[in-house]
Structures are given as structure tokens and as C-alpha cells.
């Protein structure tokens, strides 16, 4: 049940993602040897502090006692070590105490926290979202008050969107905000509030979506408020307790270390809240939070896949069962020698590496969209990041679930027994395709917003990247690159045809586009993942040709890319049919015919 941060794999993925283009824009903070140090140090905290309390955290769970949440043993101390290490401020503005590192480096570090202990890591994740939102939309005073304490980790933050009748449909929310001088009085009930309370920090800054009495109905009548657990005095010391409380904790299937709270605001007359941005423009602020959070939740898919893979690989190396196929020896061998176990492990590994490479590449565009010297390049990377974000979120979290399920299968019967830990990954992973916008909503975002707004231009730019990779594969030596190129070309042609069909379909019945959305996103992810692994294969062959000392590592990269091409990317062309011609049967049935 141990975890070892896969630093070598991460650095390889960073190289594919183009860290060499990003790092110089961030000065000495992001110098190559410093990056290695950051990953090493983060790896220690993940491996030695967070991973060991993953299973105990699952068993103990967070509990609510007399209105106060107590997190599992070790969680508070781990948070203290994390905050003191400066990890909470890694990608944030040095003006407010951040480390000013690129997201491209922060993202692998985030992967480690999520892999080591998902139930713990969802806590800091929400604070990240709040820092993003306040940085983009807060007043100077709000920034001065909250950012230094959130970035240092002294305080934490939550995001309060969901209500019983307002889940995916956030516009249906009813929590009320009434103007009262320079502040507002907030009242209503919120559900699914991750770390709505905890014993980690002295104060918790709740970001709450609410509706003013005179607001328009629907999503255009939502405003965002800062609602601190304890009021903050002008000198930033803590004042009275605000009018909010935890009503109960949800009984979840997984990430049981994390408290998922039902929150009541304003039972005593109204919690004090402070507007962020403009009235009725809360949705834009929320999207600032959520865009970043979507990238990070996608990363949770990568993380849980890596964790499940490591666990299954270690088990397969140690579990002896049955003799080897085709061998004359009657002795049992470690099951990693059995072809189907290898096939499962390679599926896990290839999907993990592909989704990692995609997520890191999206993170690189996030940085380049902000810092690239050329404006056109910034715009290009912004569009690329916008395009890739829903793919990272949805494709990677589906992979997290699939890989965790394969992890159980590799364990056989032992996988179903909680003691091994494989089952926890399967349970934990299952929330990631749901929260921060279900994967269906991500697919709609990809099709209606991302393809819709530029008629597929960003997608075509991405397809051009793939064609460059195909050319590099053609130029390289050996059967493997040729085999990979064939599958990549097939996938890319399919994605071209599908993109064209989906863009054309946007002029028609939107329900037909919505039927195509999830298969289209799956196709996009599958081809994109193949593209990044293929780039890695080209790089590996170059290293091997140059006489790299660690040929084992590069041979494995080539084999994994080849496996992905033959077993996963080869499935891409079949997705064209449901994308183009799948709508009739879906829309035919009346509701009572289901």
C-alpha cells in the first residue's frame, strides 16, 4: 500500500509537455536543477507523510462531534507539514507569499498529493480554487486580507455551489443574499461542501454562491460571496464566529478521509458575507475557480491511476501462482509473468502515462497563455488550454476509474478484500468523473463551447500538432515507431472527420450534438494520449540511439507507447460511427419506454 512518487516518469512527461519552453519565463525559480529538487522534496512528503495515512484515513473517516469536524489521525499534522513546507503557495504570486513557480511544475506536485492521499488532498485543492478566484476578481483589500493567509495555508477555503435542487444546474440555487450596508446577509443550505469544516486551520473562508432578492432568475442572477467562519478584524485577527454551521456529514463510498458537509448559513439571522466581483456575475468568478479545479480533478484521475498501478504491479511481482505458459517447469511464477496480467498492467501503465502527459501539456499551455512573450502565442495557448481542460478532466477521471478497476482484477480475490488497499482506490476514484462538473458536462463544454466558439479552430491546431508527431515518427528508425505512426494516423484522421462532423452538427438539433459529445471527448482523449506517448517514443528512440545509460527506462517508454497504439489507440476509429450516426436510437424512446 506504499506509494513512491514516480519522479522519473514525471520528468519525462514534463519534457514532452515542453517544460523547456515554460521554465525560462519564470526565471531562476524554475531552473532545471531546482525542478528536480522540488519534485524530490514533494515526493518525500507524499511518500512518507501522506501515503501512510491513506488507508487509516479511509477507515476512520472524518467525524462530526458537537458541530465540529475532526479529521482522521495524522491529517492535521500532515497539513501542518505541508503548509510549513510552503507547498500551498507553489504556483501563486510572490507578492502574496507564493513561490511563483509555473503550473507546469505545480501540477506534478499536486499529482503526488492526490496519489498519496486523495481524501486529504481534496482539502488544499479547494483553497487553490479560492486563491484563483480572489486573485482574478477580489478587491485590493480582499486580496490583502485573504490571499497571504490562504496562500501560506494559515487559513483554508471552501467552494459552496451545490444545493439539493441545484447540482449540475447551479442556476437553480436558492441561497439568499440581502444587502446590509457594505456587506450582505447570507442564508440557505449548501450540500456536498468538501472540508466545510476541519481541524487544520484557525479560520475557513467559505466562497458561497447566492442570489440577491432582485436578481434575475437562473444562472445570470448568481453572486459570489466571501463568508468567513470567523469574522476577520481590520488587523486580520479573528473576531466573532459567523452565522454558519455544519449540519451533517455525508456517508460516502470513498474519499472517506475528507468531510463532505451539509452547511447551514444564516440560521441565526444571516451570515455576514462580502461580495466578490460584481453582483449577478458570480458565475464568471465560479468559472475561474472551476477551470483550474477541472484541470486538477483530471489530475486526480492520473494520480489514482498511478497509485493503483503501483499497487497492482507490486502485487503482481510478489504473488506466485501457476506455472508459466509454455514452460516445462511445474513451479509457480510471479503472476507478472502471465500474459494477461501483463496486458492488464500495461493497460494501466499506458493509460496513466498518456493521461499524465496530456494533463502536463495542458498545464504548460496554462503557463504559456499567461507568460509567452508573443501575444498571438499567448492567445493560441489560451485556446489550447481551454480546449484541453474538459478533456483532461473527463478522460483522465474515466481512466482513474478504469485503472483502479483493473488494479482490483490483477489482485484477484485479494482485490475485493479491503485490507489490500486496491478496493479503496476503486471506491475513491469513482467521485472524480462526477465532481467539478460531471464528465457529461465536460463533453458538452468541449462540443458546445470549445468547438462552438471558434468552429473547431483550436481543435484543428491541435490536429496539426499530431501531424508533426506523425512526421517525426516517420523520420525515426524501427518497427515500433512505424507501428505507432500507423495507429496515430488512423486516430488523427478519425478525429479530423469527427471534429468536422461535430462542428457541422452545431448548426442543427443540439440534442444530436449532445449525444455525440461523450464519444467525441473519448475519441479526443484517446488520440491526444496517443499523440503524447508517440512524442515520448520518438524521444526515447533518440535517447537510445544516443547511447543513453538508462536504456531500460527508454525501452519501457517505447514499449508502453507501442502497447498504447496497438491496444488503445487502435480502438479510436470505431468511435466515428456513434459520433456521426448515433443520435437516432438515443432520441427515439419516450420516457416511459425506458
Amino acid at each position: 500500500m506504499s506509494y513512491t512518487a514516480p519522479i522519473r516518469d514525471m520528468q519525462f512527461a514534463l519534457a514532452i509537455a515542453g517544460l523547456d519552453k515554460v521554465a525560462p519565463l519564470f526565471g531562476e525559480n524554475a531552473a532545471p536543477d531546482l525542478v528536480g529538487q522540488v519534485l524530490e522534496e514533494a515526493g518525500k512528503l507524499a511518500n512518507e507523510v501522506l501515503a501512510p495515512i491513506n488507508r487509516s484515513g479511509d477507515i476512520e473517516g472524518s467525524v462530526l462531534e458537537n458541530g465540529v469536524v475532526r479529521t482522521p489521525k495524522g491529517f492535521k499534522e500532515a497539513y501542518k507539514a505541508y503548509a510549513e513546507g510552503g507547498w500551498n503557495g507553489l504556483p501563486f504570486d510572490p507578492e502574496y507569499g507564493g513561490q511563483g513557480l509555473p503550473w507546469t511544475i505545480a501540477i506534478p506536485v499536486q499529482e503526488m498529493w492526490n496519489a498519496a492521499n486523495l481524501g486529504w488532498a481534496v482539502g488544499p485543492l479547494l483553497t487553490f480554487g479560492a486563491v484563483e478566484a480572489l486573485t482574478a476578481h477580489g478587491t485590493a483589500e480582499q486580496k490583502q486580507t485573504y490571499l497571504p493567509r490562504l496562500i501560506s495555508g494559515e487559513w483554508a477555503a471552501t467552494m459552496n455551489l451545490t444545493e439539493p435542487q441545484a447540482g449540475s444546474d447551479v442556476g437553480a440555487l436558492r441561497t439568499r443574499a440581502v444587502r446590509e450596508g457594505s456587506h450582505y446577509r447570507i442564508s440557505g443550505q449548501k450540500i456536498f461542501i468538501t472540508y466545510g469544516d476541519q481541524d487544520w486551520t484557525d479560520n475557513i473562508i467559505h466562497l458561497v454562491l447566492a442570489r440577491l432578492p432582485d436578481a434575475p432568475t437562473g444562472p445570470k442572477g448568481i453572486s459570489l460571496f466571501i463568508v468567513p467562519k470567523f469574522m476577520v478584524r481590520p488587523d486580520c485577527s479573528l473576531g466573532e464566529r459567523n452565522d454558519l454551521r455544519v449540519v451533517s456529514l455525508e456517508h460516502k463510498m470513498g474519499i472517506n478521509g475528507s468531510p463532505t458537509c451539509v452547511m447551514a448559513y444564516g440560521d441565526g439571522g444571516g451570515a455576514l458575507g462580502y461580495l466578490v466581483g460584481q453582483e449577478n456575475e458570480g458565475l464568471a468568478c465560479m468559472f475561474t475557480m472551476m477551470n483550474n479545479a477541472r484541470l486538477q480533478v483530471g489530475l486526480q484521475g492520473v494520480a489514482i491511476a498511478e497509485r493503483a498501478y503501483q499497487q497492482a504491479r507490486d502485487y503482481a511481482r510478489s504473488r506466485v501462482q501457476s506455472r508459466e505458459l509454455g514452460s516445462r517447469s511445474p513451479s509457480g511464477v510471479p503472476i507478472i509473468r502471465h500474459p494477461d496480467v501483463r496486458r492488464m498492467l500495461l493497460t494501466m501503465k499506458a493509460l496513466t502515462e498518456a493521461s499524465r502527459a496530456l494533463a502536463y501539456s495542458a498545464a504548460a499551455s496554462l503557463d504559456l497563455a499567461k507568460r509567452a512573450p508573443d501575444e498571438a502565442e499567448r492567445a493560441r495557448h489560451q485556446a489550447r488550454m481551454d480546449l484541453l481542460t474538459p478533456v483532461v478532466k473527463a478522460w483522465s477521471t474515466d481512466i482513474g476509474v478504469e485503472v483502479a478497476s483493473l488494479g482490483i482484477q490483477v489482485h484477484g480475490g485479494m482485490g475485493f478484500i479491503e485490507e489490500t488497499g486496491a478496493a479503496q482506490h476503486y471506491r475513491d476514484a469513482r467521485i472524480t468523473p462526477i465532481y467539478e462538473g460531471t464528465n457529461g458536462i465536460q463533453a458538452n463544454d468541449l462540443v458546445f463551447r470549445k468547438l462552438g466558439r471558434d468552429k473547431g479552430e483550436a481543435a484543428r491546431a491541435f490536429l496539426a500538432e499530431i501531424r508533426e508527431t506523425e512526421a517525426a515518427l516517420s523520420a525515426g528508425p524501427g518497427d515500433d515507431l512505424a507501428a505507432i505512426r500507423r495507429q496515430l494516423a488512423g486516430g488523427r484522421e478519425t478525429l479530423e472527420a469527427a471534429t468536422q462532423a461535430v462542428v457541422a452538427g452545431l448548426d442543427g438539433d443540439p440534442r444530436r450534438s449532445a449525444v455525440a459529445a461523450v464519444p467525441y471527448l473519448k475519441l479526443f482523449g484517446t488520440v491526444a494520449g496517443g499523440h503524447f506517448l508517440a512524442r515520448g517514443a520518438v524521444s526515447a528512440v533518440e535517447h537510445l540511439g544516443g547511447g543513453a545509460s538508462d536504456s531500460d527506462f527508454y525501452e519501457a517508454r517505447l514499449a508502453v507507447a507501442r502497447f498504447y497504439a496497438d491496444h488503445i489507440l487502435s480502438q479510436a476509429p470505431a468511435l466515428l460511427h456513434p459520433i456521426r450516426d448515433g443520435a437516432s436510437a438515443v432520441l427515439a424512446l419516450a420516457e416511459d419506454q425506458f
Copy 2:
């Protein structure tokens, strides 16, 4: 969280499976109106007695107190009602008190128990296996002693195969059996013993695999023994307690209602055991148990899929969220109106119906292999059943997991909260691809044994069935049948090519065949499922053309078959590549390169 046995769907699947050919061979017991009554009555027990204690059974779990297992509240009473209703004897020999019904009818009834309460239903399942084994291999005296009491449900049985070092590799077991006059003394530890103890029956007949001191090593040195919990006197009253005990219960991820026991035999000097069949031929006896059990575990996949589907459909009809795409009304609609939710529900429904039709058709061959008047037909159905059994087991249980996972997704955040029940199905389903031979082992069975022994003859006979269905589709009217035919032809051609490649590959490196096995089984299941749904579509069109009164039902069958063709069967051709050319990358890596 309710369950309603889908009797209409089951009868439709029975018609596709050819119940009209099976029933006449079983006399008045299987007359058409009686079948309806059997299903109705079973449905009442499933819906009203077993389903309501599914979630409470999950929460309470079975517990071990002072060496005795106590099952969850209501489980014992449900078993009593089940036994008194004669359900335990449905498919068994009337000579020993069975009802003598065909398996083709028993199987839908079994589906109901599994769907209503999987944690409960795994109990009777094991007794079924023991009845099969004793019927085939027991002495006249053993049959007289045990069969009437096992068939009536007065006693129950267990299967004891697994030991810590002997899971899939059953030949590695070490439990010892020493001859002592007319009986044997058994000692050793067994794990994963489902319902190794319970509070349902006065006696439990453990079937235990063990090894004689002079037995050959490996699987050819295994013998099967009857080891009763309480000794049975000549008059069949119960005598002393045998030397066996439950050491502990496993802490599982799902099917928590069922006690999964670690059993110790012979701590006090040796448990008394009685040989079944011949010494060292226990494996053949075990396969008798397991073949039937594999069909039934496959059915568990169908069952959990049906249960998860019903739950998700009901939720999608009642949960209002977001306005309808393309509609001008701002009001929220039930989420079943959203295209991607419909796509998910149809995926669930289509996979459930396809796997059900396959399982019922295999059951029909089981009956026809025993009772068809013509010897060649009996042999043909035996080969067909042998071929389909691993497909039913593996493909249907993978479907159970996939559909349960989609069920959570339809629920959104509520799916991750245990109270809704969707999460339990996802946890429960996950054991089914593992027990009774992992799905990897099923795939090896399909490729090495089933294709190997007749060089693909039975598979080609099945492909000929598909071609007949294609002809029927061509002869029928309308776009839907034509669209289904195109996809079915593509799938069938792929399965032909893959079968040829796999059979040819059996002359080469068996490791390459083993890499192809799981994708081949998936292809087989996908095409077979499409074939059965296509038959259903032809039948539905005939009914609609004949002016059927319940056109809603038949229209739905057609739409589901069309959906399956466009969204699922269309994926089949892509599987040819990994089957034919997928081995290189899998076998390339050294163990430490993983």
C-alpha cells in the same frame, strides 16, 4: 432502491433463447402458462422479501460471534420463505424432491434472486453447485443422504477450493486428507468460503478439495470430500459436530450481507470426510460444480446490471435539473430528457438485455444438451454451451461492473452517497469478474480449451447462427433493421477473422494466444450480444407489423437493438487489431521495466 423483476423482458429473452424448443422436452412442468406463473411468484419473493433487505444487509453485514455466523436481519427468514416455496429445487431431479424444470426457466428465476439481493443469493448458489457435483459424481448412498436435504433447502452446501497459496492455481492446494477406514481425516485451512457458516440451516455440507499423502503433485493429485458440519447418522438425523470451524470473516468491499469465511479443518485431529468420485479425480468433480456456477455468476452480472439500470432510470425520471436542450422554456426537466443521460441509460439497458439474452440462450443449450431427442443435436448443444459458458461468465460480469458504474454517473453526486443504493451495486458487482475463475481465466478457457479442442468448429457453428440472423434482418422492413444488419455483419466478419487468427495462433507461442484471449472474449460477447438483440429486433418488427397491442414494448426492443448496433456493436471491428497484432508490446518488457 426497489426492484421489480422485469418479467416481460425476461419472457422476451426466453422467446429469443428458444424456450419453445426446450419446454416440450420437460412435459407439463414447463407449459407456457406455468412459466408465467413461476416467474410471477418468484418475482414476488424477489421484489417483496429479498430486495427490501439488500441495503440493510450491506450495512449490517454478517458477523462472527463465538465461532458462529449471524447473517443480517431478515436473511434467515427470507431463506425460509425461499426453501418453503420449493425454489431451491427448481431445476433438480424430482426423484430427490426437485421440481424438474428446465434450466432455461430456472435461470431467469436465479437472475431475480441475484438482482434483488446479491449478498443473500450467493448462499443458495453454492448449494446448487454441490447438488450438481453430487448428482454427477456421488454414490447412490451419498445421493440418497444428501440430495433430498440439499434440494429442499433443509441443509446448505459450500465449496472449499481456495487456500492462501492456491487461488487461481487450485493445484497448489495443501489441505490434507488421510485415509481412515471407509472415511478420511481432513485438515487444513481454506479461505474465501462463501457462507462457510450461517444461521439458515441445521447442517452445512462442505465440499472440500484436499490432497492424499501419496497423491501426485499439482492438479492431478486433488480429491473431493464431503465434510458435514454435523455428522449425519444412518437415519439422517444429526450427530456430533465435525472438527471444523470458522476462524474469521473477510472484510470485503461489497456483498457484505454474505459471510466470506476463513475455515479451519482438523484443528482437533482431523475432520471426517467422505470421498466423492475417485481419489485424485477431484478436479473433474470441481469442474462439474464450476461450469454451472460460471453460468450463474455470469447471470449475476446481468442481474446487477438490471438492478442498477432500474435504479438509475427511476432516478432519472424523478430528478429535475436544467432546462431541455433546444427548448425555450426555462423550466428544469427530468434528467431522462437530457441526451447524454439517455445515452447512458440506453447503454445500461442495451448491455443488460444483450447479456441476458446470451445467458438464457446458453441455458437453453444446457437443457437441449441433455434432452434434445437427437444425439447429434445434443452434442451440438453441449459444444455450444461449453463455448458460451466462459463468454457468459466474463462478458456479463464485466457488463455488471460497467453498468453499475454508469448507474452512479446517472445519479451525479448522489450516486457517491451510500444512501441512494447506487454505490452498493458498484461495490457488489466488482467481485463477479473475479470469483468462479477470473475473467482472464475464462478467456484462456475460451481460447485454449474451447477453440483448441475442436479447432473452432463450435465457434463457426455459432457464426452460422449469426448469418441466419443477418438474413432475417435483410428480409425485414425499415431502416432500423438495415442499420442493425450492417453493424452485425461487420461484427460477424471480425469475429470470423479473429477466430481464424486465434485458432491458427494455437500452434504457436501460447503466450501470444493468452494476450489475445481477453480481447477475443470481449469481441465474442459483443457480437453475440448484438446477434441476440438483432433477433429480438426481427421479432419486434414482426409483432409491430402484426398490429401488436403493446407497441410501446416492441418499439423499445427495436430502439434498444438499434442503439446497441450503433454504439456498442460498432466498436467490435476495432478489436481485431489487438487480437491479431497485440502481443509484441505485451511480451517485450522485462519485469523490472514495469
